[in-house]
């Protein structure tokens, strides 16, 4: 206690040295205050249950599922005398049946067909101007913005402006990306396609819904034009899984039904060390067995690859003993278009994610299994090396904060070295009239060579990505001039 009291006193003396004269009295008061601090013990059961709820919620968020969705359907399914003359065929149809979701008139089955299609159009610029639109400004603010009003952070003033809160000690970091040439840029064909995701909702008609759901608790006939947005199924068996089908977006996610798995005491679990992590081959084999067991179609995906971002961070960490080794490892089956891998703009492969819990060496979740319908069209690309590198020097779009009315002196400039890029497809969005559209566009992905992520609090990202479509470059540059500070 003495050290604690002294610490408090020293802080006060810094403010007012005259307080030293009252040290005896102050010491007594502070000591007594510490002594009368009420004893607080958190209920162990509450602690364990809350943790399980939170981890379960996170798992659901990862798979695009939320408690709110579930509650909505519990309300329907738990409402008494419901006759469900419904047979739902899910997994087989993902690979076999080339039709959208409707009730089969002959069998009465609900066919949920996840047919995949990729169509290449002859016409160029078939989707009109590809402008990132006004909404992405707000989204960028999420990535680079502040946290709940904490001092000194970069915050929005409005939808399109940011300002720096008055904390004189805080200097936002600005990353300047320098290209280190160690070879040629990959050859870029001007005939590469831009693919637009053109998924149609899996619609079940109002009349079919009213045939399926026969309940005496409410008169469904009085509701007009009913639809189904989500279906949540659960496996009532040991080590069972939940299945969530989003009919609007056309995605299916499978994740553990935690009620049917052994309850774990997270407080007692030992932290993993690097030697506890099984080989990539072993993790992949677990994911592969699961995928094969449930006949999940991987035709449009590449090989299973373990997501090793955490391992890179571990290797770069100053104190490896302190590094948190994840218990859930992600295995990615990357979407491949025209033999080129698809990536998120922040550098993660985009595709099907199968997570494996290395505590029990079983699959934790898989998702999102997508109904992918793509339409391709050619768009003008930038192929000039200088133009590409000039774009790369700015970093990935919105890597840096956009700040108005400030000068460079108010920022800490971090020099980052990036190496040779590879040709990829990037997942991009446009926003028109409040609606988003999803595209896969040709791009280059440069690996960040130095400094390492999180080295001395520096976080330049693992990759810099540059979309090659002129429309995107122009619209992004219209938001970022010179290149960071307004």
């Amino acid at each position: 206690m003495k050290r604690e009291v002294n610490e408090i006193l020293q802080e006060l003396y810094e403010l007012d040295p005259n307080l030293v004269e009252k040290e005896a009295e102050l010491t007594k008061i502070i000591s007594k205050m510490i002594k009368v601090k009420p004893e607080v013990t958190l209920d162990k059961q509450f602690r364990t249950e809350l943790k399980q709820q939170i981890l379960s919620e996170l798992e659901k968020q990862e798979s695009g599922f939320s408690i709110k969705n579930l509650l909505g359907y519990v309300g329907i399914f738990a409402s008494g005398a419901i006759a469900l003359a419904l047979i739902i065929n899910i997994f087989p149809n993902i690979i076999s049946k080339p039709v959208d979701t409707i009730i089969d008139k002959q069998t009465g089955n609900l066919n949920l067909a996840f047919n995949t299609s990729i169509e290449k159009l002859d016409s160029k610029r078939a989707f009109g101007d590809l402008n990132i639109g006004e909404l992405e400004e707000g989204i960028a603010g999420v990535g680079g913005g502040g946290v709940m009003g904490m001092g000194g952070d970069v915050m929005f003033e409005g939808s399109s402006k940011m300002t720096v809160l008055p904390d004189p000690d805080y200097k936002p970091k600005i990353y300047v990306y320098n290209y280190k040439e160690v070879g040629e840029l990959p050859e870029i064909s001007e005939n590469m396609y831009v693919y637009k995701k053109d998924n149609k909702p899996l619609k079940i008609s109002d009349s079919d819904i009213k045939k399926i759901f026969n309940t005496d608790i409410i008169d469904l006939d009085k509701f007009k034009n009913l639809g189904i947005s989500n279906l949540n199924l659960y496996e009532d068996a040991k080590n069972g899984y939940n299945i969530n089908l989003d009919l609007q977006v056309g995605t299916l996610n499978v994740y553990r039904n935690y009620n049917m798995w052994p309850q774990r005491d997270y407080m007692q679990e030992k932290r993993l060390s690097i030697s506890d992590v099984p080989s990539d081959e072993k993790i992949i084999s677990i994911a592969k067995s699961f995928i094969e067991k449930y006949s999940i179609n991987l035709d449009i995906y590449g090989n299973l690859v373990v997501d090793d971002i955490w391992r890179k961070q571990y290797e770069n960490s100053d104190n490896k003993d302190d590094y948190y080794i994840p218990t859930i490892i992600n295995v990615i089956s990357q979407l491949v278009l025209d033999d080129i891998g698809v990536y998120e703009t922040y550098g993660n492969p985009y595709g099907l994610n199968t997570t494996v819990d290395i505590n029990d060496m079983q699959v934790n979740s898989i998702g999102s299994i997508e109904k992918i319908n793509l339409v391709g069209s050619e768009y003008p690309l930038i192929t000039d090396k200088d133009e590409i590198l000039n774009q790369a020097k700015k970093g990935t779009y919105f890597q840096n904060p956009r700040i108005y009315g400030e000068t460079k002196e108010n920022f800490e400039e971090i020099q980052v070295e990036i190496g040779n890029p590879k040709l990829v497809y990037l997942r991009k969005y446009t926003y028109k009239e409040g609606k988003s559209e999803e595209y896969f566009v040709p791009g280059l992905m440069f690996e960040v060579l130095t400094p390492s992520n999180n080295e001395k609090g520096i976080y330049p990202g693992e990759y810099v990505t540059v979309p090659l479509v002129k429309d995107f470059i122009e619209s992004e540059n219209s938001f970022i001039s010179e290149p960071y500070i307004y």
């Binding site: 008061i29 009368v36 943790k51 939170i54 996170l58 904490m150 000194g152 104190n319 999180n454």
Partner: protein
């Protein structure tokens, strides 16, 4: 352990890393809330709400910010939740009211701490609410002035001055009564 690395791991997709954050802070957050409610069930409800809000907002936590503090960030969510709770109860925000409520049995004081709490609360009631909260954050919650400033929206210097003045005031005005109580081991 570098909590910022855990946050980056969370942000890069390893959502289960939050389990470690939970283990690190669940007790501290609960205590922080308890000192403002003195009721186990209410403190549990607000703690639960705090962590669910945290998982929604953690992706926005800026780990590159100098002196980024997860503890202060979590406590700020908790602090706002406590304020929201009392606003919802249509009570004027402040420990004064909480103390009144406690003594009037509108909320049940934690039975195990009841006697001790009552004395502590009687004592704390003599201090201005705003000053008392900051004093408790420094002495009971062991928060730094930087963290208290972040949570309350006041400057660090101001928080220090409040603690200093409050302690001096206690010393000059009510020392005798308090020390009599303390020395009689009533607490």
């Amino acid at each position: 352990m570098d909590e910022l690395k855990i946050i980056e791991s969370f942000k890069s997709g390893n959502k289960q890393a939050f389990g470690l954050i939970y283990d690190m802070y669940i007790d501290k957050v609960y205590e922080f809330i308890y000192y403002k409610t003195y009721d186990r069930e209410i403190a549990q409800d607000i703690t639960s709400d705090t962590f669910f809000k945290a998982i929604k907002a953690l992706d926005k936590f800026d780990t590159t910010k100098e002196n980024a503090s997860l503890k202060a960030w979590l406590f700020k969510i908790a602090y706002n939740n406590v304020i929201d709770f009392y606003k919802k109860k249509k009570e004027e925000v402040g420990l004064d009211d909480i103390l009144e409520i406690g003594t009037e049995n509108n909320f049940s004081l934690d039975i195990d701490n009841k006697e001790k709490l009552k004395e502590v609360l009687d004592y704390l009631k003599t201090i201005k609410q705003e000053h008392r909260e900051i004093l408790i954050m420094r002495i009971w919650d062991n928060l730094s002035y930087e963290q208290i400033a972040s949570i309350t929206g006041k400057s660090e210097d101001n928080c220090k001055k409040i603690v200093s003045r409050t302690l001096v005031k206690i010393n000059s005005n009510i020392t005798l009564a308090i020390l009599v109580l303390l020395n009689n081991n009533i607490f």
